[in-house]
Subunit: 201 residues, 2 copies
DNA sequence: TAATTGTACATTGTTAACAATTAATTGCAA
DNA sequence: TTGCAATTAATTGTTAACAATGTACAATTA
């Protein structure tokens, strides 16, 4: 059963802005004007401010008191490397945790997400592909560790993703995800971990 | 020179609430009422909402749309363990990064922070001790990796700290920090890392 | 009685006006 | 022209009223 989750106005606005930033449409250091955003989304400044605070805490924006928010710069290569390590640690934890502890329904969900990835890849919708990629990982991270683990994980991956303006333009990306789900399906966490390692870089 | 940084109203409110949560004064699942908080801090609900969003992103609160925010529950032992790993990874990165790259002034700052810890310990002000402990680590993490690294690190340590209602009631805690600074002063990052490992658990 | 609907209340979400702060511009003097 | 000060404009911060939503409890029905 497809769960069409209802999203609050604020979460929808956040999604759009995250998308704009990760896709590179909003370049680093771009200043975000609250009034303009309010007009763009047809709300007042209140909800916009809420979203800006959220995205700042997620690392996508930098805020200065009485000055405003602007798009973060890419991480230094060193911090990027550290982020990859942390992300791997979290996702390897998740995969281990799911061994012998995952339902057919969840596996089907993940298959569906990968199908969506394939579709975006075929249509060369690379921003959507990136978002669906994140959606996939978010799914099994949440499955393994709930909201707590997701909260640890999310800022790390979002910030990393800013450095991938150019998505790896390859069918391999989709296939890697199939391998991970296959490993989970076989309850082979070692294989799944090796899949995660290959995928996260 | 002691830098008495000016804090915005919102950041001061956030500090107080973080303190209340980490000290256990606000117990897990306690519901926070925006109106009541506004009256307590003598502001309107606007700035309060900003703070609640921040603390939610830091993992100290859980928020539900149209319902409100409440204090998070402690991490499961498994997630606590993972958090310790991540925190160590980050701080070890920081210490390595500071080798041969730290000023006398910074070392003096850290000495001063540890003196403050000692003072709080002597006076049995354990909540303040915890905060100063965090301040110490935040200082050299920020030194090594700036705002970006601090943003990665902060939610991890805050969430961990919720599990330490009872602070380790020992002079050892203070001494461990002296050892870390000594190692940094000697530019011996291996020794510093071993100090970090001992201290973070 | 148990479940369900309806109503009143409390709380969060949103808005628009106003205050405070920062950034930009202008005018003046050297 | 350049440097600086004062003024103006633009932007963020705060507030209080109002709207929308969720919660608790009473009334109703099976």
């Amino acid at each position: 059963m497809k769960s069409n989750k209802i999203l609050s106005v604020r979460e929808q606005i956040a999604d759009v802005l995250r998308s704009d930033i990760i896709s590179g449409e909003l370049e680093p250091n771009t200043k975000l004007n609250e009034q303009q955003l309010a007009e763009r989304f047809g709300t007042s400044r209140g909800p916009i401010r809420d979203v800006l605070i959220k995205l700042t805490k997620e690392g996508l924006l930098v805020s200065k008191d009485n000055v405003g928010s602007s798009v973060s710069s890419p991480l230094t290569p060193e911090l990027q490397k550290l982020s990859i390590d942390i992300r791997r640690k979290i996702e390897e934890y998740a995969v281990k945790h799911l061994e012998n502890n995952i339902s057919d329904e969840d596996l089907a969900q993940m298959d569906a997400i990968i199908d969506k990835m394939q579709e975006h890849f075929d249509k060369e919708e690379f921003t959507e592909l990136t978002k669906t990629d994140i959606e996939f990982h978010k799914y099994f991270v949440g499955l393994a560790g709930g909201e707590d683990l997701t909260n640890l994980w999310y800022p790390v991956v979002l910030r990393m993703r800013m450095n991938y303006q150019r998505i790896r333009n390859s069918q391999t990306l989709v296939d890697e995800h199939r391998h991970i789900v296959d490993a989970l399906r076989k309850n082979d966490s070692k294989l799944a971990i090796s899949g995660i390692r290959k995928n996260i870089k």
